[in-house]
Subunit: 217 residues, 2 copies
DNA sequence: TGACAATTTATACGCTCGTACAGATACTCT
DNA sequence: AGAGTATCTGTACGAGCGTATAAATTGTCA
């Protein structure tokens, strides 16, 4: 008996609570992963009672999946828009611009003032190494990845699909690491952290573009 | 009341069991992380009763730390040996050889026939995105990383310590991704997986070397 | 062989977990 | 006002968790 969202204010009554629940879950999951978070902690974080979580979020697994899915389209749209902008300006954009277009939207959401988006970005980075969740993520993110790969493949016709896929996988891994493990950079260099992933954008894009080029050469 | 390992066969009586416990824990943690594994599951996996885990492994946290620490020195030694070999042959080795020396030992253990080493490599890759465990890993792996960075820094004197640290962090992230998320390559390219991380060695080293070079240029 | 220590078994305790649900409350529409 | 639905509260249940420990077993050495 799911409540369909309407505008008449009737069925929207609990929508604000639902948002609070999803936001709280997003923060908790982003900070501590799936297993280390309990529904009771999410309830406390959201400022609601235990039963409300089940009422609005379903089971823990359903809640997690909802959080995973909720923001995907926004991110995909940003990546598609950047790609379209790029292609409208030049027919054969250079590799670095393509990689920049793919990476920047994620860096931006991970650096936003909005803490919810930061939590979501953190969550994606966290679960990326877990096969258990990869199956859920794949259909959400693969289509856009394929669009990028198709264009990169057109520019580098000598590179086979496996090399292209490998290069993008390593690129994504680097991108996620910048969000999930940024402390390591400051830890290794003994310099203070720059504060947000976006401020490492040039380094990251350089690294990935250089890697792509060398691999496809 | 810790049993010191001796050779007289007396105090070694339970050593075989201890190994079985640690091996089982390594497999479980490597496959499902920390929180999703229970001591009872480890006991079943090891073929011992519940109490034995506590007797030989201490608390769950102690057990996990022991598993994390157990194999570090072997890996560090392999990396140091490769670096020494490289330096004995040439005073200024090229960047690609240095990165290859750092990455290959890990790829090798992750590709070994020995399942325990594979589980350990998987475990490292899995927890790398978790700040909770990074603090434990840092003192174990940072020293060797610094040795490599010192030499790379000598070859590229114009690169600051932050760029060096960032490049190595992204390199390590790529390396771990190859162990933890190799399915993604076959998933994106719709080609069969090559079977072991070591068979992607050239791609990985190319990618990281290319990234390093472009970043430090 | 018998004393003694190391190891293993079996069980119990106090918690927290995810889930379910009956009842209370708030809101909407007739 | 009153019926009816949506939302929220409070509580309970069974299961599994990490840990501790008494008792049983095994092995060692005097």
């Amino acid at each position: 008996m799911k409540t369909e969202a309407t505008t008449d204010g009737r069925l929207l009554r609990g929508e604000a609570t639902r948002e609070r629940v999803l936001d709280a879950a997003e923060r908790c999951f982003g900070e501590r992963g799936y297993d280390d978070v309990s529904i009771r902690q999410i309830a406390t974080e959201a400022g609601v009672t235990l039963g409300v979580i089940g009422f609005h979020g379903g089971s823990k697994l359903e809640l997690f999946r909802t959080v995973l899915t909720r923001r995907v389209e926004t991110l995909n749209a940003a990546r598609r828009k950047r790609l379209a902008d790029l292609m409208s300006r030049q027919d054969r954009p250079d590799l670095r611009s393509l990689i920049d277009a793919y990476l920047t939207p994620y860096l931006e959401i991970a650096s936003r003032g909005d803490q919810q988006w930061r939590s979501y970005a953190r969550l994606i980075a966290r679960i990326a190494t877990d096969d258990r969740w990869y199956a859920e993520m794949r259909p959400l993110y693969d289509p856009v990845a394929h669009e990028y790969l198709a264009i990169i493949g057109r520019i580098h016709p000598n590179a086979g699909p496996e090399k292209l896929a490998a290069a993008l996988t390593l690129t994504v891994a680097s991108m996620l690491a910048l969000v999930a493990s940024r402390i390591r950079i400051s830890g290794l260099s003994e310099m203070p952290d720059r504060g947000s992933p976006l401020q490492y954008r040039e380094m990251l894009v350089d690294f990935c573009a250089g890697g792509f080029e060398k691999m496809l050469r």
